[in-house]
């Protein structure tokens, strides 16, 4: 059983000036010489035997190490030069700490005690659409779930990470608004629209985006004369509406919406021309759920 050896390197939080040698200690990477025959994955079998995988933190600085194996010749491990993305992250964290955290210490101390966000946002994991960037949410303002294609599966689909987060945000944090934000050129929606395509052989993506199937069906029904890209765009927006309706399949959400304690909004960010469209769900009662489209109000377009 592999022994647990948990080591960590603290990025200096008080010492902002000296970054010298610490950077290279953060990680090192090792390349095996090509002469070595690779055996089966030892760490995998270790993992299978040992459900609580013990992890060892690498603290070695770059250098050479030798290993002797049975009757095989001595092996020299070589350290490969890799770009140190994590050095950059260290600088960024220290800048955040200096420019934001320390200059608003009272605010951050308050946040450390409790969070009272007014928004819950469901957004795509796409690197271009972080809600903090495009909508300017500051620390403490929005409880955010990010998944592929910003989907909210309905209650009947069973437990997912998305509805666990919804439960927490709505019942524990008591947010006042839920905002589902979709976006242009969404890879997840494209995968949904391409489901019969043999290229999408990956089961994970398929198994997840299938929750958006009603949006795809509606798109095919009303927009089949459009080209594929235009259909995808239509589906991106329709999928947001489906997600808004799926929110109402959760009784504790519907109940709050009826009481006027919770508002549900949709948003669409088009990064090809930097525009944002926003609308609010106009909830008329449980008959709405059986309808194929949802009623909306207060639509705005920001350009």
């Amino acid at each position: 059983m592999a022994q647990a050896l948990f080591q960590s390197s603290f990025l200096a939080c008080s010492d902002l000036s000296s970054n010298s040698s610490k950077g290279s200690d953060i990680f090192g990477s090792q390349l095996r010489s090509p002469e070595i025959e690779l055996s089966q994955l030892r760490f995998l079998s270790c993992y299978k035997r040992n459900p609580t995988l013990r992890l060892k933190a690498l603290m070695e600085s770059p250098g050479l190490a030798q290993d002797t194996v049975d009757d095989k010749p001595k092996v020299t491990r070589m350290i490969k030069e890799v770009p140190d993305h994590f050095k950059e992250l260290k600088h960024r964290f220290l800048s955040f700490k200096k420019d934001k955290y320390l200059s608003n210490l009272e605010h951050y101390n308050g946040l450390a005690e409790a969070q009272v966000p007014k928004f819950m946002v469901i957004a795509c994991a796409d690197s271009r659409v972080c809600p903090s960037s495009i909508l300017g949410f500051q620390p403490g303002e929005a409880f955010v779930v990010r998944n592929v294609a910003n989907l909210v599966p309905p209650h009947e689909n069973g437990p997912t990470e998305t509805n666990a987060a919804l439960e927490f945000a709505v019942n524990s944090l008591e947010v006042e608004n839920v905002l589902v934000v979709g976006h242009s050129c969404c890879g997840g929606i494209k995968a949904l629209m391409s489901l019969e395509d043999e290229a999408i052989s990956s089961s994970f993506i398929k198994n997840w985006v299938i929750a958006g199937k009603p949006a795809r069906l509606q798109t095919k029904a009303v927009a089949s004369d459009l080209n594929f890209d235009q259909q995808c765009r239509h589906c991106e927006k329709e999928s947001i509406n489906r997600s808004l309706m799926n929110l109402l399949t959760y009784p504790w959400i519907e109940e709050r919406v009826i009481r006027g304690k919770l508002s549900i909004h949709g948003g669409y960010y088009d990064f090809t021309d930097c525009t944002f469209e926003k609308w609010t769900l106009d909830y008329k009662g449980s008959t709405m759920l059986s309808e194929s489209s949802c009623s909306i109000k207060n639509r705005e377009f920001w350009a």
């Binding site: 995988l53 450390a112 903090s132 998944n147 666990a164 890879g187 508002s263």
Partner: protein
């Protein structure tokens, strides 16, 4: 209890215009009720303090703008945010944004908590295009399961196979509600929530470890250890995805764990070290 607290807050910091004497009286009544409530329920203190700060800030904003209604209007809030983004970021770097409009090639896949205080774009200043970010309760990565955990699996698959990210970073944080929830699940297995406990028990093995090895620590210190051990369990779970394992073995993918402590203002970072040792041949 939370509802009662909210009512007190609303009375105390009403935004509707009222006659001064009436306002004062109602406010005083509300303050007395609030004080009584807080003395009865100490744990509400933090939430109450946060609410007071929030409402005070809003009212201060309202006075400055001269308008009472729209400061806390959610639509107004995001509209302002979007306008600022467009002016200060989008329009100032057209080259970057036109490139991003065509495609993304982030180097990072980041798992972060949904907590409003720990957005990776703030603490690590990720710019658009740099990080494919999954956010869920307690930043957990479940083990490979195409049916039960298709959401996270889809994100990892897309990031590793399609976007070809070079790094996966799992970031835990201080005062994590999900981790507290994990620690609080009764040992008889009964659950209070519909979905939350079902999700956080992904890192059940981390809780077992903390309870065994750190049982002499205070509860707060145990939470802190659990926040980090859960990250380790998630890192291990990443290796249960064949495409992750393959990329790690080929050295095209690095796995790292991290912990952001917003109480102390610190950031901890560590590696998952996974190497193949040379084979040993057993001969007769």
């Amino acid at each position: 209890m939370a509802a009662k607290l909210k009512k007190c807050m609303m009375l105390c910091c009403t935004r509707k215009p009222m006659k001064e004497e009436m306002t004062k009286e109602t406010c005083e009544e509300a303050i007395v009720a609030l004080q009584k409530l807080l003395s009865e329920k100490g744990e509400l203190k933090a939430v109450a303090a946060a609410k007071v700060r929030q409402l005070t800030a809003e009212l201060a904003g309202a006075r400055n703008n001269g308008a009472v209604k729209s400061v806390s209007d959610p639509v107004e809030r995001i509209r302002t945010g979007f306008d600022q983004f467009k002016k200060e970021k989008y329009q100032k770097d057209p080259a970057l944004y036109s490139k991003l409009a065509v495609g993304q090639s982030p180097k990072f896949l980041v798992f972060a908590c949904s907590d409003s205080r720990v957005c990776p774009s703030h603490i690590l200043n990720f710019q658009p295009g740099e990080a494919f970010v999954v956010r869920n309760i307690a930043n957990m990565v479940p083990p490979f399961d195409k049916t039960k955990y298709s959401g996270v699996g889809a994100a990892i698959e897309y990031a590793v196979l399609h976007l070809k990210v070079e790094n996966i970073l799992v970031i835990g944080h201080s005062c994590c509600g999900g981790i507290k929830g994990l620690m609080s699940i009764p040992s008889d297995g009964t659950t209070k929530s519909n979905f939350i406990e079902d999700w956080v028990k992904i890192c059940k093995s981390a809780r077992t470890r903390v309870e065994t090895e750190y049982k002499n620590l205070s509860l707060e210190e145990q939470y802190s250890q659990l926040e980090k051990e859960a990250v380790n369990v998630s890192l291990g779970n990443l290796l249960s995805y064949p495409f992750v394992r393959e990329a790690v073995v080929k050295k095209t993918l690095l796995l790292k764990g991290a912990h952001y402590d917003f109480v102390k203002g610190s950031f901890e970072l560590w590696d998952l070290d996974s190497t193949l040792s040379p084979s040993i041949t057993f001969r007769l």
